[in-house]
Point group: C2
Chain length 211, copies 2
DNA sequence: CTACAAAGTTGACCGCGGTCGATTATTTTC
DNA sequence: GAAAATAATCGACCGCGGTCAACTTTGTAG
């Protein structure tokens, strides 16, 4: 038996998602009401809550799809031979350019991603682990090539890049960084992180100039 | 003339803030309704909107007070002679320990701080500038002492520390970092940022345990 | 003091996100 | 097949944040 119920459920879920994509893109997340969403999907208002717990959850589901797609894209495009700096810039700029496509949308997404509610913690960690699966191999290779210090934990290295990415996004939302200047800024930050903020020790361990 | 109006306004504002502090601390931000807030402050619901534009604004006002207090505390405690690493850890751990005191509260605050709505942009930038005023002198001194590269823009240096702080907070909210482990994690990240993620070209002249 | 203008206050009202018990559709049991 | 059990759907309903036109209080001009 195919299971009429299961079929219908899948169909309804698709309908909700489709309506969400349409309406969110058309008039934005905030301006779209649940009632309108339900009407567009051809179902009752309450039904939505059988599929998603909150309005934001619908956004999340949508973003997760996007992210999955993005990951797939990155995984296939990942060129493990180019310098790690360039790899990281590419990856995070791909993400960033998704952000710029819908500002309001992305604000909510970033707010929930960076500082998730306790309820979303599990899902959030799973998402992050996916990220690690993507990044770790690249970073390991870079370690082997001698581009990254071997004694630094991969989790920390990931953290550095992600932290600087958060900074960039934050600066973008606050208007301190424009869309056009983002790539340069990110590349600069990444390069500085690689090279270190303190002066590199001179080839000859000469003493300080001024005591 | 004392100005009855001005006096009353100040008084009302104080009353709202006082009610907010009480109720937010007691039952949390989300669980406190504007109506209850108004009742507690002894005024009508609509009056609140003569003083604050949104419910979040009340939170913001409260947080700004906190921040101002924090800044004052930091400015007076700032010891410009200790290593910059330690200075930065102290400053950001002060902030962090404020966060841990009220989780729900802080989530909202961080969400709005890191990814502010366009409406709040101006206020946000002003806040950040305050931060810079606090940090820049310390960083400049560190540059002069040779602890930080002189050719790196102070804005970028600030960015590095702030980005890693964002990361830490994010990891704390997602449960990846516990409250107790935060300081060690942050210090590690900061140290790595200073030293750089790529292998140093020459060994550090300071200490060297294992060849 | 009076009349008028300006500023401040108010609660009924709106639309929203989210809940819930009643209703309908599907599956299981016999 | 019918009947019982379970799952899915629905929209009236709730409390909330936020608005607004009517109203009250304060300041000012003659």
């Amino acid at each position: 038996m195919a299971g009429i119920r299961e079929t219908k459920k899948q169909h309804t879920r698709k309908a909700i998602m489709q309506a969400a994509i349409t309406l969110f893109s058309e008039k934005g997340f905030e301006k779209t009401s649940i009632e309108e969403l339900a009407r567009t999907a051809g179902i009752g208002k309450g039904t939505i809550y059988g599929y998603f717990q909150t309005k934001s959850d619908i956004l999340h589901a949508f973003c997760e799809d996007e992210l999955e797609c993005l990951h797939a894209e990155l995984t296939s495009n990942a060129d493990q031979e180019i310098p790690i700096l360039e790899q990281m810039v590419r990856i995070y700029m791909s993400e960033f350019s998704h952000l710029t496509e819908n500002r309001e949308f992305s604000r909510l997404f970033m707010q929930q991603t960076a500082f998730p509610r306790d309820v979303d913690r599990e899902r959030h960690l799973a998402n992050e682990d996916n990220y690690f699966k993507l990044l770790f191999p690249l970073l390991e290779k870079a370690q082997e090539r001698g581009e990254l210090r071997r004694e630094v934990d991969l989790l920390y290295i990931t953290g550095h890049f992600y932290g600087l990415y958060l900074l960039l996004v934050s600066a973008w939302f606050s208007g301190r960084v424009q869309t056009e200047g983002a790539e340069v800024a990110l590349a600069t930050l990444f390069r500085q992180a690689l090279e270190g903020l303190q002066p590199r020790p001179a080839p000859l361990p000469t003493t300080r100039e001024t005591p």
